[in-house]
Symmetry: C2
Subunit: 210 residues, 2 copies
DNA sequence: CTACAGTTCAACTGTTCTCTTGATCAGCAG
DNA sequence: CTGCTGATCAAGAGAACAGTTGAACTGTAG
């Protein structure tokens, strides 16, 4: 009984696999793609993906001669988030690592507040994740500007409006980085506290490329 | 970063430790006690508990010459529940094992419905967990009748009211067993779908022994 | 059919995890 | 202090796991 539940936890008991889950929870991806993004060897990546699949956390389908993986359900993303939250809450080590990784506090906006401001139209939203993830689903009206292009494309954003950047989630550094770049460029900027998965889970609308 | 999150998952990646977490989430317990309940050797149990403690999932305190462990926060119990839920949702194997373990469907009542029925007072509630767990916290008005005593103490329960039994949670067999015993004894009986932790988390009141 | 790209499989090495055993440590009772 | 109980520590045998390498499989394109 408990041994069965442990299989799910075992599948998540590896930094590599958590990273894969995180990436795959943003958009459906091929093995090679995932290997590149995470810096693993393809064979190794494939094996980790199969561990996740055997545990039922991801599902795969064939498209031409590549195989695409995605998370098996919204519930799995919830689990991933909760693991990270509890880990952050309970482990001082993780908290320190997270602070170092995110590089200092940055002003943020809650999901709720952004939702309200979106309706009044006095805020511009930027999705700083890789384009593939934007294409798979994004906050309506958001501009796709991958983080490494942001500095060069600052002038695409209106100078007189507050800018909100968002990325994969609380522990993703892209949005923090974006806020720093935007502020250095003289804009008022904040990051969305959470990421796209939480936005989706809260029942807010998502826009996807055709 | 991900390696840090994985430490939390690693701590949960063992059937033994999930079992310990489950027991300890019901009431504070000593090492020896936990070893007895789970059937482990004391030394082994102690080591598993320390893994959980290092991961920040449980905390311990000394009382006389025993050491008592309890879960570190309500959030941890939430995580434990979510792991079980996802595991049950996503793994056919776990689903089968669970069905076999619980021994067939039994009619149940939701937390919400019980809450309403409690107010009108036309239902009698039975806590079929071990007494230590009842003492640590239980649903108001609940009668403590450990599952193995239920059959012998049936007459303590009014014959003209519906009986609701509850236990540790969705995957705990005590309440199902109780419903079968109660029905065999001619009562109208249902189990609470979930267990005490979910009841507490929903913000409902809890009564504890002095 | 052949060549090729993408993915998976199989085998192997080194590491980590699990449980057991016996010793040690901390508090309590006499 | 001595003896006792409860918990932890230390060390070792066996199992499970992670990453690497090279081969095998499966569709696509020519």
């Amino acid at each position: 009984m408990y041994e069965g539940f442990a299989l799910t936890a075992k599948a998540m008991a590896s930094g590599r696999r958590l990273e894969l889950l995180d990436v795959v929870s943003q958009a459906e991806r091929s093995v090679e793609d995932l290997a590149t993004v995470t810096g693993m060897a393809v064979a190794n990546c494939s094996q980790h993906l199969q561990v996740l699949r055997r545990a039922g956390l991801v599902v795969s389908r064939r498209d031409g001669n590549r195989i695409l993986y995605q998370v098996a359900s919204e519930r799995v993303v919830e689990l991933l988030d909760l693991v990270r939250d509890v880990s952050h809450d309970r482990s001082p080590l993780v908290r320190e690592t997270a602070e170092a990784h995110l590089g200092g506090e940055v002003s943020s906006i809650s999901r709720q507040e952004l939702w309200e401001r979106l309706a009044s139209g006095d805020v511009v939203v930027v999705d700083v994740r890789p384009l593939a993830e934007y294409a798979a689903g994004h906050i309506p009206t958001a501009h796709p500007i991958p983080i490494h292009e942001l500095e060069a494309r600052l002038e695409e954003l209106p100078a007189d409006m507050e800018v909100v950047a968002y990325c994969r989630g609380r522990f993703c550094a892209f949005a923090d980085e974006a806020v720093r770049i935007l502020q250095a460029g003289g804009r008022r900027a904040r990051r969305l506290e959470e990421g796209l998965p939480e936005w989706r889970r809260a029942g807010h609308p998502i826009e996807a490329a055709s």
